[in-house]
Symmetry: C2
Subunit: 295 residues, 2 copies
């Protein structure tokens, strides 16, 4: 099976599982609207493929992955709110608050965060399992003030616009990197519930995710300039019109392209430090594919 | 030691522990502002006293209790937002968004929810512990769409104003009851980490909390009419001016008073079905004290 087919197979498993969590009623309707709005599902796919690399099955990491995706979706709903980035479109569709109003969107995000932890802690129907507690703990740390929320805070407020590449990287590492790291590490932990997994695999997963996250964010900033709105799923040029400081405004397009390739290589190199039972080929190809993505 | 002293002792333990979680910097400043704004700390005290009743120590349930209090605080911050209840005062102080703005208040709430789970899962520094996972799972369920967020949804939107006592009770049982239930059950679970605890104690804790929650909410509605703003910590008569359907508007003050006494008695009766190793005297007195509270 080629990379594209393998990606599609994993994504389809995620979509099918996500469909099972909520019903079309009350607040759950708004939660479903955003959770099932498509997207690349990179975080759950990473969890599942790291589980495979560590000798497990994709199934074993599926609910950990879905939990991470719920947490990611909540963060998108809240980021899009008028008091935050005030975005009307997400993945080419009206944002949650545009459809259901601010109050429901806030609550839908809040409930998705709780659902994320519930999903991870009940993964495999077995909540009294060390791995689930450990995974949930990693997720909580990544989601909180030391991770995603802290990154979003410094991004939208903090001391005003970030001015150096190092500052921007510190923010993005929290805002985007933390959750990617959690997804990858949780995938390895999912494998450890049925077999011994070396600690160096957790470290490798963490370092892969850190570099993948930075490459991903720089590519995102590039696509805001060189992308196509329909393909990208959000308006092009919004960073410039918002006078946002991005990797492109700081470094220029050419240096950005080098940085993306650089971080992508570091991500792939990080994989080599793990004593894997399975193959890391998909993870290497995924890094390459994200570096060249147009959406 | 009398009830008031015992309550004060437990509250002081909670205040001291809550002080240790965040520093006065960035987003954490806003989280601390709301978390350390006082309040009765009923939820952590309940967790600690149920742990004692089940034969444990208050210490053993302290971090579970602090996690529940963080979750409660996040819900207050988000409930106060302009897109929700739009309140300017909470516990006699300006609400979080009044001080830090909507964006930071939203993020502070989000980060407190994540911190709640992190705190429960790392309670006692021992995350790979069945009890912590079980407690976090109970908390997640209580916080989510089947519990607190669902209750808040039906309260602020849903099918418009609730019209019957049964509808109002269903909403309050989710909005307030779910988290009180979680606090009480988590206290019992905290005790079970070092000794055998009978399942009937968990059931008793759950039923006590359900009835306590309803008594608490009815008393709250009464205080909106008969209370004193300075003592109550929020404006009196806001339910009436918001044309909100409350227990008082539905049943009148006199019936409300009967209901409070009724539910309080049921809460105390529920304790009798548990095979406790410790005393439930404090829990009984706490129920009585909440029934008569003026704030």
């Amino acid at each position: 099976m080629g990379f594209v087919q393998e990606m599609e197979q994993a994504r389809r498993m995620v979509e099918a599982r996500l469909l099972e969590f909520f019903i079309d009623e009350g607040l759950q309707t708004a939660m479903r609207y955003s959770l099932l709005a498509g997207g690349k599902r990179i975080r759950p796919v990473l969890a599942m493929k790291f589980c495979e690399a560590a000798g497990g099955t994709m199934e074993e990491a599926l609910d950990f992955g879905c939990g991470v995706e719920m947490l990611h979706t909540y963060s998108l709903i809240h980021d899009d709110l008028p008091c935050m980035d005030n975005d009307d479109l997400r993945r080419g569709k009206p944002t949650c608050h545009k459809v259901y109003g601010e109050c429901v969107a806030t609550l839908a995000g809040d409930a998705l965060q709780a659902a994320a932890f519930q999903t991870v802690l009940t993964a495999g129907g077995n909540w009294h399992h060390d791995g689930a507690a450990r995974a949930a703990c990693i997720l909580a740390e990544a989601a909180g003030v030391q991770g995603m929320c802290g990154g979003q805070y410094w991004d939208t407020l903090g001391d005003g616009q970030p001015h150096t590449e190092a500052e921007l990287t510190a923010i993005n590492d929290k805002k985007t990197g933390a959750l990617l790291r959690a997804a990858c590490m949780m995938g390895v932990i999912a494998a450890s519930s049925h077999r011994v997994v070396e600690d160096n695999c957790i470290v490798a997963a963490r370092d892969y995710a850190t570099n993948l996250g930075l490459a991903f964010q720089i590519r995102d900033d590039m696509l805001d300039v060189i992308g196509n709105a329909a393909e990208f799923g959000k308006p092009i040029g919004s960073d410039v019109s918002n006078e946002k400081s991005t990797y492109v405004t700081l470094l220029g397009l050419e240096t950005c392209e080098h940085r993306v390739l650089d971080y992508t290589q570091k991500a792939k190199d990080a994989l080599e430090s793990g004593a894997w039972r399975g193959s890391t080929e998909f993870l290497q190809k995924l890094a390459d594919s994200l570096a060249q993505r147009m959406n």
